[in-house]
Structure formats: structure tokens, C-alpha cells
């Protein structure tokens, strides 16, 4: 059954929109179907209301070869913008911040053996946790829509130069 791609607000996307399911800024991919945090995490609101979380293409490219991921345990209570784990390359350690408050109900165990999934598939196979959100309606305003995140990335790239 073909998957229905939804945009960040949950509205089904047209063919044309699906074909353009990503925005590309300077080679960094930004998926149109999810929300973003300033710390480069993405939050995908699923059909059942749970929030799937991962790190963005910009984040994985900055870290380069990811060799270790520390994840929270299922059942942990998390708060928006608080650290819930780390992503490590050989040279650096980066915190993962939860984009929403709630309870961790699933953790991607594949990342233990294959942390490189965060590099090869940051938006799909490289998902990190699924959270049952406790205050999504309230907290969503603290996250960026894809276009806003794209502007944010553009600004960061300009500042680096």
C-alpha cells in the first residue's frame, strides 16, 4: 500500500509535493514532513500521535563518522530541549536533545551495532527514539517548520564563512 506522505502539519501531500519531499540547502537535506529543533534534531509526528526523533542531515554531516550512540531507556521521562543521549564520532561527543516532553516508548536498538545508520540514513533507518508526547500542542510552537529550519541552516552556513 503506498505510503501517504504528510507535511509537517499532518496534511497529506500531493504527488508534486511528495516528489519534492525534501528541501536541499547546500547539499543538506531537510524533510518536509517533520519539525526541527535548533539543536538539529527532527521530530516526526506519526499517525498515532507519537513522535519519532532523530538527528538531521546537517548534524550527521557535521559529526562525520558516527561510531557510538548512547540512548535513553524505554520508559524514561524526557523534557523538551533536555539532553537524552549522545552521538559520538571519534573526535567529538554531541548531546541529543529531546524535541518534545513525554515518555520514551521505543528505542532504535539497531544503532548499537550500526551507529553509522545515523550517517547513511538520518531520516529513516537512523531514527533514535519514539516518544509518547505529554504536551505536544503546547510545545510544537517551540519547534521549527521545514522552511524555518532551512533558513536557520542558511544562516549557520553564512556565519561559518
Amino acid at each position: 500500500m503506498p505510503k501517504t506522505y504528510r507535511d509537517a502539519e499532518g496534511d497529506a501531500m500531493s504527488h508534486e509535493q511528495v516528489a519534492e519531499k525534501s528541501i536541499k540547502i547546500n547539499g543538506y537535506e531537510i524533510r518536509r514532513d517533520r519539525f526541527y529543533s535548533r539543536e538539529h534534531e527532527w521530530a516526526l509526528i506519526e499517525e498515532n500521535g507519537n513522535v519519532r526523533v532523530g538527528i538531521t542531515d546537517y548534524a550527521q554531516k557535521s559529526l562525520h563518522d558516527i561510531v557510538y550512540v548512547e540512548m535513553p531507556s524505554v520508559g524514561s521521562k524526557v523534557n523538551q530541549m533536555n539532553p537524552i543521549g549522545t552521538v559520538e564520532s571519534i573526535k567529538s561527543v554531541s548531546e541529543i536533545y529531546s524535541p518534545v516532553s513525554g515518555e520514551v516508548i521505543n528505542v532504535n536498538n539497531r544503532l548499537s551495532d550500526s551507529p553509522e545508520l545515523l550517517n547513511t540514513s538520518p531520516y529513516d533507518d537512523g531514527w533514535i527514539v519514539v516518544i509518547k508526547p505529554s504536551a505536544l500542542d503546547d510545545e510544537i510552537k517551540n519547534l521549527m517548520k521545514p522552511e524555518e529550519y532551512a533558513d536557520y541552516i542558511r544562516k549557520l552556513i553564512r556565519e561559518k564563512k
Partner: protein, 376 residues
């Protein structure tokens, strides 16, 4: 005042992710630390190490002078040979670890850590009174590359006239490559077979010849799988090999005996700066030792992580990384001597969690499969 750049800055700027190290703008990686690291263990890698210090110590008292400031027996270094040595202060603390190459009877090439360029030069000058000698800083006049890995010799043999297989490990000789006089030594910092090339009379501002040789080695080595390697891979490789990094594993608060660099310390020598302090330490017993640590659970130890035994702190990690070869966290650090035996189970505290680990011998890799003594 800006950062210093080597002859290859334009190449690094184009192909590498740059970092600041010892006041130099250096490549941290090109393709990535993991592929570069694995290339050195499986075929070959080339490193720009021009940031290091290079000094010529010469004239009739050069040997006696060097024997006075270093722990190693310099008298026994043959012409063409290079030996790893330590410069100690009066308390036995490590000023730097260096290579001493004897180019001629009374001409020595000293290679030191980039971060200690000024310190070592000042130390040598300060201790040169009364000796008939000349100390010349040629750091900015000699480009330096390292070509390391099991295929390094095959690659370099394509462009070098002399028979490299006749060069014993730890020895060097002069040759001419691409219009440059090169002192080529069979030495390195990765644990693999390989060579270090000293490109004589190549001032930083005239980078053309050095750049040309770098490109030639890369092109010649392409079919063998050579990769340009940055400081990221250099660090992971030397940790796997069990080699110290000044500033992390050794510094002025540590003696070479604690660092287990006994092979580079000759306590039978007449005298050298720090000898009395080291003899005292032997007499009193060495209280802590540098060891290898291997994590038994997934995790990456880092400098500063505490090492515990039965919930008591027994030491600290001084260098740590994820081994791309062994796919686990490894590191080195110091523990109280009674816990320094291999297979001692310990815990490493990384941020707020404790990870199971054990003390192991170094190098970390199986020397029958990796390293310059690997079985063919």
C-alpha cells in the same frame, strides 16, 4: 597573529576538514577518520607532519650534549640510525619525547612535538653552555611527510632510486626525489611499516617542490589504495599502537618510568638531566604505571575519565578513542601499580555512567595480523 600553514595548505584547504593544532592549520580528516585509519592498516596513508619541530645539533660536543639532555644512550646511535628518546627535567618529569637521528658522526637531526617547538629549543639553548656545538632550527625549512602502511614500501620504491628493502627499521639514508634532497627513514608513529621523508631545503614559502612530491606519492600510490590522512586518523592509529602523545599521556608531571618508556631510558649512562630523580624513583618503587584499557561494553573512553576498581578511583584515562579496527573503545591511562596487570577488570567512568573494561597490553591489535611485524 594567524595560524601557521605548511607547504600543503592549499591541498588541505581544498580536500580536508581543517583544525587548529599546535598553532598550525592542519587537516583533521579528508575522506573521514575511519577510512583513512583503515587504509593505513590495510594499504597505505600519507601524512603531512611538517608542523613538528626539526633541529640540527652539530659540532664536536653535539654527542656529549645530547647524552646529557636525553635519557637514551646517544653514543651508541650509529650514523644513519634514529632512536626514540626522552628529554627530562631535574625531577625526572618529561620535557618532550623526541627522535634523535645521527646524520653524521657529529651531526644530529632532532625531531620534536609541534607543541614543544619553542620549549625544546629554549631548553637546548639553556643547557648548551660549556659545550662546543651549534643548534640550528630548521623546522620551517624542511617539509616532512610520513608514508605508513604495509604497501608504503612498494609505493615509495616506484619513485625512489635506492633499494628500500635494504633499509632496516629505525635507519635512514639520503636520496634525491623530484629535484629534492630527501633524508628518508624507516620510522613512524602508526605501528605499521613505513617511512618518514625529510625534504631538505624546502622553506615554507617555496612550497612548490614539496607539493609536487606529495602529489606524486598520492598518484603513484593510487593503485595501491593510498589515502591522504589527517590528524584524526594519526591519533587513532598511534593509540592503537600504544604510543604516547605529549600533553595527553606524558608531560612534566610524569616520569618515563611511570610511562613505561624504560626502553628509552639508560640508567647506566654516566649522567643525564633527571637521572638522580629516576634512580630515586626506582629505589622508592614506582607508584603508578601507564596501561592500555579496553572497554568490554560499547562506549568511548576519553582523556580525563576516571578508572575505578571496586568503586575506588585507581587512575585516570589520558588518551581514548574508538578503534576503527577493533570496533571498540580503547585508551591508555595511569593506574596504581598494583592494578597494572593485564586482564585486571576495571570500570571507566564516562560522564555519569560506569563501563566495564579491562587492563590490556599494547599494541591493542593482534601483531600477527597488523603492525610492521605482521605475518605475511
Amino acid at each position: 597573529m594567524g595560524l601557521m600553514r605548511t607547504h600543503l595548505y592549499e591541498y588541505h584547504k581544498k580536500y580536508a576538514f581543517l583544525t587548529e593544532f599546535a598553532n598550525f592549520e592542519m587537516p583533521l580528516w579528508y575522506e573521514g577518520i575511519v577510512p583513512e585509519h583503515l587504509a593505513v592498516r590495510e594499504s597505505a596513508g600519507i601524512f603531512d607532519v611538517t608542523h613538528m619541530g626539526r633541529y640540527i645539533v652539530s659540532k664536536e660536543d653535539s654527542r656529549v650534549f645530547l647524552d646529557n639532555i636525553s635519557t637514551r644512550d646517544v653514543e651508541s646511535i650509529k650514523v644513519g640510525q634514529g632512536k626514540y628518546s626522552i628529554i627530562c627535567n631535574e625531577s625526572g618529569g618529561i620535557i618532550d619525547d623526541i627522535m634523535i637521528f645521527r646524520l653524521e658522526e657529529n651531526v644530529f637531526l632532532i625531531v620534536c612535538n609541534a607543541v614543544n617547538r619553542v620549549k625544546d629549543y629554549n631548553w637546548m639553548k639553556a643547557h648548551s653552555h660549556g659545550f662546543s656545538l651549534k643548534i640550528k632550527d630548521l623546522s620551517n625549512n624542511i617539509a616532512m611527510f610520513a608514508v605508513q602502511g604495509p604497501k608504503a614500501i612498494e609505493i615509495l620504491q616506484q619513485i625512489v632510486d635506492l633499494d628500500l628493502s635494504s633499509l632496516r627499521y629505525g635507519y635512514g639514508t639520503w636520496t634525491r626525489i623530484k629535484d629534492i634532497d630527501v633524508f628518508i627513514s624507516r620510522t613512524g608513529y602508526t605501528g605499521e611499516d613505513g617511512f618518514e621523508l625529510f625534504l631538505w631545503n624546502t622553506p615554507l614559502e617555496e612550497y612548490g617542490k614539496a607539493y609536487n612530491l606529495w602529489s606524486t606519492i598520492l598518484n603513484t600510490g593510487k593503485e595501491y589504495g593510498i589515502k591522504p590522512c589527517g590528524l584524526g586518523a594519526r591519533d587513532a592509529l598511534r593509540i592503537e599502537a600504544g604510543f604516547c602523545l605529549y600533553g595527553n599521556d606524558i608531560n612534566e608531571t610524569v616520569t618515563p618510568l611511570e610511562a613505561r618508556l624504560d626502553f628509552a631510558v639508560n640508567l647506566q649512562k654516566d649522567r643525564f638531566i633527571g637521572k638522580e630523580a629516576l634512580l630515586r624513583q626506582v629505589a622508592e618503587g614506582i607508584k603508578r604505571l601507564r596501561v592500555g584499557i579496553r572497554l568490554l561494553e560499547r562506549g568511548i573512553p576519553r582523556s580525563g575519565c576516571k578508572i575505578l576498581f571496586d568503586k575506588e578511583i585507581i587512575g585516570e584515562v589520558t588518551s581514548g578513542t574508538f578503534s576503527p579496527l577493533l570496533k571498540c573503545g580503547i585508551g591508555m591511562g595511569y593506574v596504581l601499580t598494583e592494578y597494572a596487570k593485564p586482564k585486571t577488570p576495571v570500570n571507566v567512568q564516562i560522564r555519569d555512567k560506569c563501563f566495564e573494561a579491562e587492563i590490556v597490553d599494547m599494541p591493542f591489535y593482534d601483531t600477527a595480523r597488523y603492525g610492521r611485524k605482521r605475518q605475511k
